[in-house]
């Protein structure tokens, strides 16, 4: 027994044990979904933010704008040499709008998940370039963006909720419409999610502990001071807090509690939902009451790294149950039809649509003569919708197809273009198959 007691502590701290612990902490096999949600949100936010900056491009980042190029900025032999920006190398006026347009394109590509492996790095380089060129304009949100973008660059993003994924699925379904491309997951994804989680926790910890050293926060006056601060003034809240001043210490201490609680309670399974809800609530208040929309949204995207796989699975399963099964009946001998179906189904990430080739597997609901003329959709209640109506029914019910909703639901577009176009395609699909 004594040899067991003396051997156990040494065994516990052995390298293999530490390695196992390291793997358990970092290299959990995970799908990329939380990171993809972050990617989409950040891409959208940056696209909107920088697009709105377009009228001020030269003022904000030009050599003759608000912040003339500091000669020391690029030539400093110390830390300045690491403060790099693409703008430092521009010397002709046309280069600014060209780069800006390209950067907006990159943000859109990041948001849509197109060629993600490339564009995520370009977005990171572009964002840092804007920041370093005019550091006076950068504030907290820009630093957070850089941190999140770096992690997204490390991670295998673009594997889900992306056009890259659509392309991969379409490629597989062109060979076999029933092909299922498995969801990507990897231990490296798990490691990158962990990195982002640690980033958010560090951020909240430092934010909370810094606040606790300040008199405004200790005395409970901080939120009151925010509401009369000229940059964030809110007359409605000021009136409310003046009449009920106890709200100020409540909000002040509540902010610190939420931030500090996040650091410790975001990790355990049971408390994560509450810590996450608290953080999202806090940022929603920053957005609504202080009009820090960009900052709050980007922070919320960082919190997405804490979304559990089972929550997302449950949400997807709920949606599928709510919508119900849908079966599309198509002509398996029509090459154009199969390619169109492959493209259409590639957006069906939740696999809500099942398919039936009426040539080999006639439908008991829709006679083959009818399917010969148009594609059909069979609903859970037994109804069958033809052609354009079938697509119109499916589009709002499959999240990956929501981008098509305007084409099918805006009256002018659907009546004048959509329906006639579909009818023509259906009638001439044999001809189209020759050329597809």
């Amino acid at each position: 027994m004594s040899s067991d007691v003396t051997a156990r502590p040494v065994g516990f701290f052995s390298l293999a044990t530490l390695g196992g612990l390291w793997s358990r902490i970092w290299f959990q096999d995970r799908p990329t979904t939380p990171l993809e949600i972050t990617r989409i949100g950040i891409g959208f936010a940056m696209l909107l933010h920088y697009a709105l900056a377009t009228p001020y491009l030269y003022l904000l980042w030009g050599n003759d704008g608000w912040f003339p190029r500091d000669p020391l900025h690029a030539n400093d032999g110390g830390a300045g040499i690491w403060e790099q920006s693409v703008f430092f190398y521009f010397n002709a006026a046309w280069q600014w709008p060209l780069f800006h347009a390209f950067f907006l394109f990159c943000c859109a590509a990041l948001m849509l998940g197109w060629r993600t492996s490339l564009f995520k790095w370009l977005v990171l380089i572009g964002h840092i370039s804007y920041d370093q060129r005019s550091p006076n304009l950068a504030y907290g949100v820009d630093a957070i963006l850089a941190c999140l973008l770096v992690i997204l660059c490390f991670a295998p993003t673009g594997k889900a909720l992306s056009l890259d994924r659509v392309r991969a699925v379409r490629r597989a379904k062109r060979t076999d419409l029933g092909a299922m491309v498995p969801q990507f997951s990897s231990p490296w994804t798990g490691a990158c999610i962990r990195l982002m989680q640690i980033q958010m926790a560090v951020l909240f910890y430092v934010s909370a502990t810094d606040k606790m050293t300040g008199e405004d926060w200790r005395t409970g006056e901080a939120v009151w001071r925010v509401f009369y601060h000229v940059d964030y003034s809110n007359d409605l809240m000021l009136s409310l807090f003046a009449s009920h001043y106890w709200l100020s210490p409540l909000a002040t201490y509540g902010t610190i509690v939420i931030e500090l609680a996040y650091v410790f309670f975001i990790w355990p399974r049971r408390t994560r939902p509450y810590a996450l809800a608290g953080a999202l609530f806090l940022h929603s208040q920053f957005a609504l009451l202080m009009r820090l929309y960009y900052f709050s949204f980007v922070m919320a995207m960082g919190h997405m790294s804490f979304l559990r796989r089972e929550w997302l699975d449950r949400l997807g399963a709920f949606w599928v149950r709510k919508v119900g099964p849908m079966e599309m009946i198509y002509d398996g001998q029509c090459g154009f039809c199969k390619r169109s179906m492959a493209a259409f189904l590639a957006f069906d990430g939740l696999r809500q649509i099942s398919i039936r080739d009426y040539r080999t597997n006639p439908s008991p609901v829709v006679p083959s003569e009818k399917v010969d003329k148009a594609l059909y959709l069979v609903l859970p209640d037994g109804r069958a919708l033809p052609g354009f109506e079938a697509y119109r029914y499916v589009v709002p019910r499959v999240p990956g197809l929501w981008w098509m909703v305007p084409l099918f639901y805006i009256p002018v577009l659907s009546r004048l273009i959509g329906r006639p176009l579909y009818n023509w395609i259906a009638t001439h699909r044999s001809l189209l198959s020759k050329y597809a």
Binding site: S117, G140, S185
Partner: protein
């Protein structure tokens, strides 16, 4: 570069990463994770002997990737509010006061950019004041400006009893006005 190791079907339970990584890849990725984690934490740490020593090693990485931020949002204190105003003196001697913040919509990010610009001017007038003054001379050419005086408004404390008494945080008794620069406008 996107560091992917494999696209194998998802595994349940704790996947032993070493089973899917070569030892070298596992070590390299682990090193990257440790490095970046230290960088994230270091960027936010206050100055100390240890953090300063580590920063000499990590500084290029942190600076290049723009990871340097102390995350001190409204910390340690909320701080005073500052507002930029300017006074245009025209050829007739009349003075016109302008408050740029009043013309900006809080819903537009432009309000933050303009605010940051004025904040930079107030913080470093020796660098930025002249350029701003010159641009304001051009902007108000119709007034036939003779000079532009740049003003910094600093907010003083404002308490609930002041609000209940019907006062406003930017009332003269709650602000300190400091001219910090002036520009002579060219004759128009």
């Amino acid at each position: 570069m996107s560091i992917e190791v494999s696209a194998a079907p998802p595994q349940t339970g704790d996947a032993a990463a070493s089973q899917r990584f070569s030892p070298i890849a596992y070590a390299a990725l682990s090193l990257l994770l440790a490095w970046h984690t230290v960088a994230m934490v270091l960027a936010a740490l206050p100055e100390s002997r240890i953090s300063d020593a580590l920063r000499t090693v990590f500084s290029p990485y942190i600076t290049l990737l723009r990871l340097d931020n102390d995350w001190g949002f409204f910390a340690p204190n909320v701080g005073s509010g500052y507002q930029f105003r300017y006074i245009v003196k025209d050829a007739a001697g009349a003075e016109h006061t302008f408050t740029p913040a009043d013309t900006l919509s809080r819903f537009s990010p432009a309000s933050i950019w303009f605010r940051d610009r004025y904040r930079a001017v107030m913080a470093a007038p020796e660098t930025f004041a002249k350029a701003l003054g010159d641009s304001l001379c051009r902007q108000h050419a119709k007034l036939h400006p003779v000079s532009i005086t740049l003003i910094e408004i600093e907010q003083d404390d404002f308490w609930p009893e002041d609000k209940l008494a019907g006062k406003s945080p930017l009332d003269p008794e709650f602000i300190t006005t400091t001219p910090f620069g002036s520009t002579q406008c060219p004759a128009t």
